[in-house]
Amino acid sequence: MNVFRRLAAQWAERYRKMSIQMVLSLSFTAVAAAGMLLMSVSLIWRFSAVNEQLVAENSRRVLAQANLNLDSYLRRMMRISDTVYYRSIKNMDLAEDDLTGDLSLLYEENRDDLVSLAVFDGEGALVSAVPLTALKRDAETADSDWFQAASQSMENLHFSTPHVQNIFDDPDYPYRWVVSLSRHVQLTRDGATEGGVLLVDMSFSGIEQVCRDVTLGSGGYLYLIDGDGELIYHPRQQLIYAGLLEENNRAAAAYRDGSHQEKFQGRSRQVTVKTMGYTGWKLVGVAPAESWFAASPQLPLFGLTLLLFSIFLMAFLNFLISARISDPILRLERSIRELDKGLGGVKIEEGGCYEVQRLNHAVASMVSTMRHLMDDIVRQEGEKRRSELEVLQSQINPHFLYNTLDSVIWMTESGQQTEAIQMVTSLARLFRISLSKGKSIIPLADELEHARHYMNIQQIRYKNKFTTEIEARPGTEGLYTLKLIIQPLLENAIYHGMASAEDDGLIRVTAYREGEDLLIDVEDNGLGMRPELAASLLDEDRPEVRTKGSGIGVRNVHQRVGLTFGEGYGLAIFSEPDEGTLVRIRLPALDREEAERRRQGEEL
């Protein structure tokens, strides 16, 4: 039981690992092969049964013919006996007539079939005989089986089993095998009747010749037994007599006429029996099982070839059909696996049969929906982040506004009205550009203007400790940029680079085009910093420390540019201690149309 469970578990495990095509093709092939095998077995069984019937029918026919021939032969012998008895013995008085002449005549007519003809009186004494006329000195005629049978059953003729004729004195000692036909006769001697026995010794070869040429198909043969099963003729009789071979003759004697199955010495065979009318002898036809199971030994092989070829053909067709069915499913599975790996642009084919097409369609639809949802999520996340950054950006403004207004108040109080007006004017322009009607992408000229006004204010506040140069090189005309990206860098440059300047500070803003990109450099000649520190300013993982010039503004600008235009755009910081810092903004070179399209995209 455990073995079956283990096998079932192993099969289940193997089944789980098999491809659908393998399962389909192997299952179909196994079922087809089992069906064909079953059909073949039933055909062979049916064929054998029919063949067996044919063999039995053939045996019966052959035995009937052999019976006819043998019966004819025996009846001829009986006619000889009748002739001797009714034409000679009954018409003769032995005291006056000699029987030998008649016997000789009959013997000469039938000498091929006869060994001897003899008449004995009731005591077994020889009355007359041909061709031998003398008995052996110790011949015990009256004790012979044939004599006893004739004496005891007077109305019948009796056939003996084959034996060596041993009563006549023959100088050649030929030891002939004969079958004796004996009958009781009435002898007349001196007018008185007495009992006697007429003996007709038939040559065994006569019976042998009748039986010898009978053939019963491949390996079959015929033998003859008497009613007790004693062997009369067998094609290998002497081997049986010598003890080198056995025959099932005793059992066959008990069989009724017809065909029987028997197993003898481990071999199955069909035995057909035919009882001869007068003698009670039985003709037995033997057909080995092989002769009807496979009339021709090539037949089972031919059947096997047909079976194997059918299975081969069926397997081939099954493999093709299962491939046809399973290939679309396999392609779908492969596509899903590629999707699972995150490969973009995977196309879901909608082939195969109806159910698979529907499945493919459903999966393709699902994938498309997922892609849209994911895009939406990504976009929403970007928008959200950008909004956050813009809020942070705007948080700087009140502080700056306070400082600026404080400076304006101070300048007004101190009578510096021209500077105060200039400062307020710049502040107004600054705010107007900051608003830009809520647009995030503005002309580069406006952004530079914004930077200029911001620097005007800061220069007043810092009492011209540094100078500012803002330049837009040729090729940048008409280009657009993300708004409020220069001001945080300028703020950082002022707080970080110009704090300790002694009227020789310089902050330079340069916008120029490089291929399809717009570059804006914000450069100062301030204290500078170590390159590692400069690199870390843009690191998103760097903890936020809200101090002046902590770099948060710079990082916000970097993230805004990245979120708006994608990877490859943003800030790069180059700095060396005591030499100054260069912050480079890389943006796509947007013309008016592109800028308008992006604005519309943002609004959507």
Binding site: M18, S19, Q21, M22, S25, T29, P162, H163, V164, N166, Y173, Y175, W177, F204, S205, E208, Q209, R212, P235, R236, Q237, Q238, L239, Y241, A242, G243, L244, P297, Q298, L301, F302, L304, T305, L308, F309, I311, F312, A315, F316, F319, L330
Partner: protein
Amino acid sequence: MKTEKSRLIQIAILAALGLAAALSLALPQLLRGEREPQLLSLTVLLRDTDSSGWTVARQGMEQAADELGAELRFLTLAAANDGAEQEELLLREIEDGAAALVVVPADPAALSAALAPWLVVCPVVTLESPMEGAAGVVSPDNALLGQELAEALLEDWDGGEVLLLDTAGRCAGVSARLEAAEETLAAEGIPARRAEALPEEPPRWVMAFEPSVTQRTAEGREAGGRDFALYGVGSAAAITAQLERGNLAAIAAWSDYAAGYLAVRRAVNAVRGTGGALGPLPFFILREEDIYAPENQKLLFPIMSSSSR
């Protein structure tokens, strides 16, 4: 990857099925070749100058040859019991391509030595006497036969010397019969002597241990009108006739037909590497009154007249 493996398995299954179908187509041709074994050429060599005493044995041999697919070639010697001639003839037969030999050896020891290099390629089966290196011997238990024949004589013995005809020469099987009979008689205190030929005035009791000598001695007894009890061996019709005519008191007989059949069957099996060892051939002591007992008839008088195929 899995698909590729599946395809390989499918191709392997298709290839195996195709191969099996092709093989089953070719198999009948192969089987036909196997079913028709080559006809074996066997040589039968006696130690006598004529084979009339071997008629029944020859019928058995031919029956076996017919059944087992062999053809027989019968040879006799120019001079009886000539071991040298027997060696020469057998070596010539081996050179001529005989597949196996069936021999009644005149001198088993010398013959074994002469044929030793050839026994592997050409099996030899002996009749009557065993031979070293032979594939088998078909013979009654010679010692037992001699003993039982002597016991048959003892049943009749009423005094007088027993003459043992020592005609065997170097034939071991016949010697074994003689020696066993001699020992049996000696054990009973019966005087016995050996003689190579029957004397002019033989004693009342004579024993012969070869079929041919038995037949000759019985015929001599009848022709000379001599009165001695002869005990011999053999089952040829001529010997049986002498037994029936009273010229033999008893014989040790066996089925010559069975002997011949078994010898050829053993030789063929030896060539084909099949079959097992042979046991001793059954024999029986036969007196005149038992000749026509049904079982004896079957053994002594083969029913082969026209049925041998």
